[in-house]
């Protein structure tokens, strides 16, 4: 508890030029800034957990209301497509964390490479999903009031439409996050190939990789609930 006041950062741009150009004026060290950014990203990820979690809750409660219809509707989804997508996303998580490692070990080219690989995996994911959706639509498996599939075991029940409503909402929202992630990763890859990241500053790569891992995490739960419960 010192009784003197320190004179710190009165003139943020004039005391010896020791500042990393990325350091914002209200932080005293880059490490403080990095740690704070991480906390901010984790707080945001917590909100995503609760947003998707609400949908999971709705799905679970509707499943307890229509158990037979949901089981039957499960069968209409292609297990292999879901499993492949799971593998693709896990690989993309690997490439994302490798990109962070490359950034903080000053390997800019490899960082960019891993980022583009992540984008590529995400692209494969979206293609498989597009294929699935197309196939579902051909069979009349539309969401909500557009559901037009014939041959259900309990005709007239709302459960099937509700299942597919949730399926398209959740995979749709997840897919939206995949697209956003692809955009962010591409932007990062371009910046990485320009040499903007190093062991001194790789915060954006770290934070966006965290976002990407969450996208993967959500799919890790989506996959069994929609494709594997029989």
């Amino acid at each position: 508890m010192s009784t003197t006041t320190e004179v710190l950062h009165q003139d943020p741009h004039g005391h010896g030029g020791e500042h990393d150009p990325h350091q914002q004026h209200h932080f005293t060290t880059m490490e403080q800034q990095f740690d704070t950014s991480k906390i901010g990203m984790w707080l945001f990820l917590a909100t995503e957990v609760l947003t998707f979690g609400g949908l999971f809750a709705g799905f679970g409660l509707m499943q307890s209301k229509y158990p037979m219809e949901f089981i039957e509707a499960h069968e209409k989804l292609k297990r292999w497509a879901g499993a492949t997508n799971t593998v693709v996303l896990l690989v993309s998580s690997f490439t994302a964390v490798m990109a962070v490692l490359m950034a903080r070990t000053n390997q800019a080219k490899k960082c960019a490479m891993y980022l583009w690989l992540t984008v590529g995996c995400a692209g494969i994911f979206m293609c498989i999903k597009a294929y699935e959706y197309t196939h579902d639509f051909e069979e009349g498996l539309y969401p909500a009031k557009y559901y037009s599939h014939v041959g259900d075991l309990i005709p007239g029940s709302h459960g099937y439409a509700t299942f597919f409503s949730f399926y398209f909402m959740m995979t749709g929202l997840h897919g939206l996050h995949v697209l956003i992630g692809m955009g962010l990763m591409s932007w990062l890859a371009i910046r990485a190939s320009r040499g903007e990241f190093s062991d001194k500053y790789y915060t954006p790569v770290d934070l966006i990789a965290l976002f990407w891992h969450l996208v993967d995490l959500i799919w890790i739960y989506l996959f069994p609930l929609y494709y594997l419960i029989t």
Partner: protein, 551 residues
């Protein structure tokens, strides 16, 4: 740096800097693109006060509609049931989402919290600005929805009415969705700020209690608001596509909507009250000139209130069709959540005991808070009792209860904080004489308006009803007259506060003899808050070594 005026600080003279955050840069663009938390706080203050005015106008219209059962003024009926439904919906939605949730955190805390920590800004200044813009966008959408088709569902948007009625429900719910993100980003910012931007030497238990309250609020904002977001999205999708989640005609469960909605909205009321309590924890020690009693108890109670608030939402569903088991569980847990609030009340009272109390306007508001929040909180306990809830729910008793806690609690605390920090933010002193008159009007008007509603509710008058039995007319009229007294008090407050900007005496750095760090800056503060980085030197509320003379 030129110094032409002395600040006349209670703690010693210091030259007043000529350049401060208000005049360092000028022009509207410098304000709209600022990342200075103080300017963002001021912009938010103007914004939420405008929203309060709009919500207040709708409140006056609601009360005016109910002046007599024929809904006449000077012999002519001027309002229909449809108009009335819209009045109370818009009053509720504007007050909840545009005013009371953002008000204290985004305006007062934005200004003061970084300074209390000895920081130069919040953790993410650009996100702070983005939060403000999201508020503006949400406000425009909400007002747009009023113009386009209006909403008559009540601010709670219960299904299946909200999924099937005409009106601009979609636009209003999307406005609230956007406002939710504004709230999330505010909370996110404060949590990160408290974790990482405290002055050197300041530990968690060295922070002012205001910071604890805002931190706890941020926790709720992060964890609860996303569920509101997804609820509103589901509502909209149900409305447009009929997925069959909330509408029983297509296989849904309306009670599920209420679960989703209240999982956010109950913690939301703690987003409303915790900042208010945080302000009271600042005002009372300062105006009692005594250190706060039970610092750790109050700090812990803020956090536990935030956490406990998440496990009681079912008490809004007691008569909605919730199972008996869930009813009992939620009832028991709701009794539990009253305890931390009680802890605070007793600690504040004990702080005042044998203190050197003075009765400036902030303290008058703080004492009003103690009285009004006690009533509001206690009547909340009545509702957690299942047997009583069955009779009182959806009557004016609950309307009175939540106005006592939200208005008698949060708004009163907001006004207290506004007066407390007015000298710091504006560099001017307001007129104490008019402050006391207005406070009296607000207090009297408030109790007239809402105290009478307890009686009405107990006698069975339902809420949101346009038509009512003749026997209730005298009480309804009395409540309406009370609303005019209350409104005049608030109007008077606005006038003398705005007038002080031009004609108020210049404020010293520390007019009240406060001990927290924001009082060490000049009034108004310089752009970077402090001329020198403050180092944590003494505990907050440490009055032992002060000989304070009154301004």
């Amino acid at each position: 740096m030129e110094h032409t005026l002395t600040s006349g600080s209670v703690l010693g003279d210091r030259p007043r800097p000529v350049k401060n955050y208000l005049n360092e840069t000028t022009g509207i663009k410098s304000w709209l693109t600022t990342v200075d938390h103080k300017r963002i706080g001021i912009m938010y203050l103007c914004a939420v006060c405008t929203a309060f005015l709009l919500g207040g106008i709708f409140a006056l219209l609601v009360r005016l509609s109910l002046l007599n059962p024929q809904h006449t003024l000077f012999g002519k009926q001027w309002v229909t049931a449809e108009m009335y439904n819209r009045f109370f919906t818009l009053h509720g939605a504007i007050m909840v989402f545009l005013f009371i949730i953002p008000a204290i955190p985004a305006s007062l805390a934005n200004f003061v919290l970084p300074m209390m920590l000895g920081a130069k800004d919040v953790a993410f200044p650009r996100i702070n600005l983005m939060s403000f813009y999201l508020w503006c966008i949400g406000a425009v959408m909400a007002i747009g929805s009023m113009v386009i088709g209006a909403v008559d569902t009540g601010w709670t948007f219960y299904t299946p009415y909200s999924t099937t009625t005409d009106g601009a429900v979609g636009l209003m719910t999307m406005a609230v969705f956007i406002l939710g993100f504004s709230s999330i980003f505010t909370g996110l910012n404060f949590i990160a700020t408290v974790h990482k931007l405290r002055a050197p030497g300041m530990g968690w238990f060295d922070m002012p209690l205001f910071v604890w309250g805002i931190y706890a609020t941020g926790v709720i904002q992060i964890l609860a608001t996303p569920v509101l977001a997804i609820t509103l999205v589901l509502l909209l999708i149900e409305r447009v596509f009929q997925i069959g989640i909330f509408d029983s005609r297509i296989g849904g469960d309306p009670v599920l909507f209420q679960h989703f909605f209240w999982f956010y909205s109950h913690p939301a009321v703690y987003i409303m009250i915790l900042p208010g309590m945080a302000i009271i924890s600042e005002i009372i020690p300062t105006f009692s000139r005594k250190t706060i009693f039970g610092y750790r108890a109050i700090a812990y109670s803020s956090v536990s209130l935030a956490l406990l608030s998440f496990i009681v939402w079912g008490h809004h569903l007691f008569v909605a069709g919730e199972s008996d088991l869930a009813n009992v569980v939620f009832s028991a847990l709701t009794f539990l959540v009253a305890i931390p609030s009680g802890v605070k009340m007793f600690n504040w009272l004990t702080t005042m005991y044998k203190g050197n109390i003075s009765f400036e306007t902030p303290m008058l508001y703080a004492m009003s808070f103690l009285f009004l929040f006690a009533i509001g909180g206690l009547t909340g306990i009545f509702f957690s009792t299942l047997a009583v809830d069955i009779h009182l729910t959806d009557t004016y008793f609950v309307v009175a209860h939540f106005h006592y806690v939200m208005m008698g609690g949060t708004v009163i605390a907001f006004l207290g904080g506004l007066h407390y920090w007015w000298p710091k933010m504006t560099g001017r002193m307001y007129s104490e004489k008019w402050g006391r008159i207005a406070t009296a009007l607000v207090f009297i008007g408030f109790n007239m308006t809402f105290g009478s509603q307890f009686i009405m509710g107990g006698q069975g008058m339902p809420r949101r009803y346009f038509n009512y039995l003749d026997q209730f007319q005298p009480i309804h009229a009395f409540s309406t007259y009370g609303s005019w007294v209350l409104g005049s008090g608030l109007f008077m407050t606005a006038i003398y506060l705005l007038a002080s900007l031009k004609t108020g005496p210049l404020a010293p750095d520390n007019p009240w003899g406060g001990t927290t760090m924001e009082w060490e800056s000049s009034s108004p503060p310089v752009v970077h808050n402090f001329e020198e980085q403050p180092v944590f030197e003494h505990e907050p509320y440490d009055y032992r070594h002060r000989t304070v003379t009154h301004v």
